[in-house]
């Protein structure tokens, strides 16, 4: 019960209160570049949930059992962290790429270059590094991965929807496209800021 509680807490926290994109501004490149239409945004969002949800526990196992001095090797190998994390992420992305290519060729072509670029999506590596910095345990790291991915998914979907609508408005020419996307993201960030600092654990206690 306690385990489930902390799972839900971390999930909600990662998805809403400390949203990867809107609170920490991670994963911005693909967030801005792929949010032109809802359909591609949806596909990319799902891919990010998947990659984040899998890499986080794997990287947790790597840091705890391979890299720390209490692990199986008994040597402190923390300096290899970046290289190993990125290798795990790159191979996960490769896997997702193959799955999408097999089951949805149309999505595969519309995502184009941005699918391999999930590898360099800062949200993924950032998630793993946050996990290490905050000393999460295994369940928490799973929850953090899934929650973070879900938050990213929601955010890109929202931005894509807004951008589809705003195409019909009279925006000053120099601001059109990219400039507007930046402004909208900033405003969304401000809106999400009001959620920050809410502690789901305290809310549950108050009930």
């Amino acid at each position: 019960m306690l385990l489930l509680d902390s799972f839900i807490n971390i999930f909600l926290k990662a998805a809403f209160f400390e949203n990867m994109v809107l609170a920490y501004f991670l994963g911005m490149c693909s967030f801005l570049a792929v949010s032109k239409s809802v359909k591609t945004a949806f596909g990319l969002g799902l891919a990010v949930i998947f990659v984040l949800g899998f890499t986080m526990p794997i990287n947790w196992l790597i840091t705890t059992y391979l890299l720390s001095d209490t692990g199986i090797l008994g040597i402190d190998l923390t300096f290899l962290r970046f290289i190993l994390f990125i290798a795990v992420i790159a191979s996960m992305v490769q896997l997702v790429e193959m799955v999408i290519e097999k089951f949805s060729p149309s999505l595969y072509t519309s995502l184009g270059i941005f699918l391999p670029l999930i590898t360099v999506n800062c949200a993924i590596l950032g998630g793993s590094l946050f996990m290490v910095a905050r000393e999460y345990n295994f369940t928490e790291s799973v929850a953090f991965g899934l929650g973070g991915g879900f938050g990213w998914f929601l955010a890109i979907l929202a931005l894509a929807a807004i951008r589809e609508k705003i195409k019909y408005s009279a925006v000053p020419a120099p601001l059109r496209g990219l400039g507007m996307a930046f402004l909208i993201t900033g405003l969304m960030g401000v809106a999400f800021m009001s959620l920050m600092g809410i502690d789901p654990a305290a809310l549950a206690g108050a009930k």
Binding site: C29, A33, F82, A90, L125, F130, P174, G186, G189
Partner: protein
């Protein structure tokens, strides 16, 4: 330097002519990595609330960008196409690890302050993007210059953002360094120990500017100004 000497023989020299100059100057404005190529917005925006950390990150990015371009360009004929991403990432990750260990050894406070954002240079799309777009197809010397140019273009935007965010958000400039100045507003408790400033004591620090969202607004304004001045950059779609 041995590598560049080899390059000299094979690829026509370390000339620094007009073309080479453009490699450095272009990314500063009309081909800027942030406002035009939309690369590398991700990691470093969160650190631009103060000038000093932004400066550190900028220098780190110039270093990583230049040397990863050089390395990849030297190896470009031996990298099989299918594994090039992994090779690039390993080179970048190794360089970033050097930066991280260096900061940890020589400037621990900055290291703590930047925390995960140092590691995030790896996934800074600008490094990877330039490797893919330039270093894979050009000789080492020009790739090196391209790396420096893009790193500088990135750093320039970062410093502009940081300047406004720190000035309006905290009322200071260069907080955390011996140069620290409290320019406007009442004194504040963060990294700087001044009671009140010598100018504009009535100014109340704007907390919005401290939030990462402010960086988005400032970039949007920069894009607006830049595209208004160079209409060919305007999005057609």
């Amino acid at each position: 330097m041995a590598e560049t000497a080899v390059a000299k023989k094979k690829e026509g020299g370390l000339a620094f002519g007009k073309k080479e100059r453009r490699l450095i100057v272009d990314p500063l404005n009309e081909n800027n990595p942030i406002t035009v190529q939309v690369l590398g917005i991700c990691s470093a925006l969160a650190v631009t609330s103060l000038i000093f950390p932004s400066l550190v990150i900028s220098i780190a990015v110039v270093f990583v960008c230049a040397f990863s371009s050089l390395t990849i360009s030297l190896m470009r004929k031996y990298i099989p196409n299918s594994v090039r991403m992994i090779v690039m990432l390993v080179v970048i990750a190794a360089l970033v690890t050097i930066v991280e260990l260096f900061l940890k050894a020589f400037s621990f406070t900055v290291y703590k302050q930047l925390s995960v954002y140092i590691g995030l240079i790896i996934t800074n799309c600008i490094v990877m993007g330039r490797l893919e777009a330039f270093a894979m197809a050009n000789d080492p010397w020009r790739s090196f210059l391209d790396g420096i140019g893009n790193g500088l273009g990135y750093g320039a935007i970062l410093l502009i953002i940081a300047f406004f965010r720190e000035l309006l958000g905290k009322g200071t400039l260069f907080a955390g360094t011996p140069l620290a100045l409290n320019i406007i507003g009442a004194g504040n408790d963060y990294l700087i120990n001044t009671e009140t400033s010598f100018l504009f004591g009535w100014y109340v620090n704007n907390n919005l500017m401290v939030m990462p969202a402010a960086a988005m607004f400032i970039i949007a304004i920069l894009i607006w100004i830049q595209r208004a001045r160079f209409p060919k950059l305007v999005d057609v779609s």
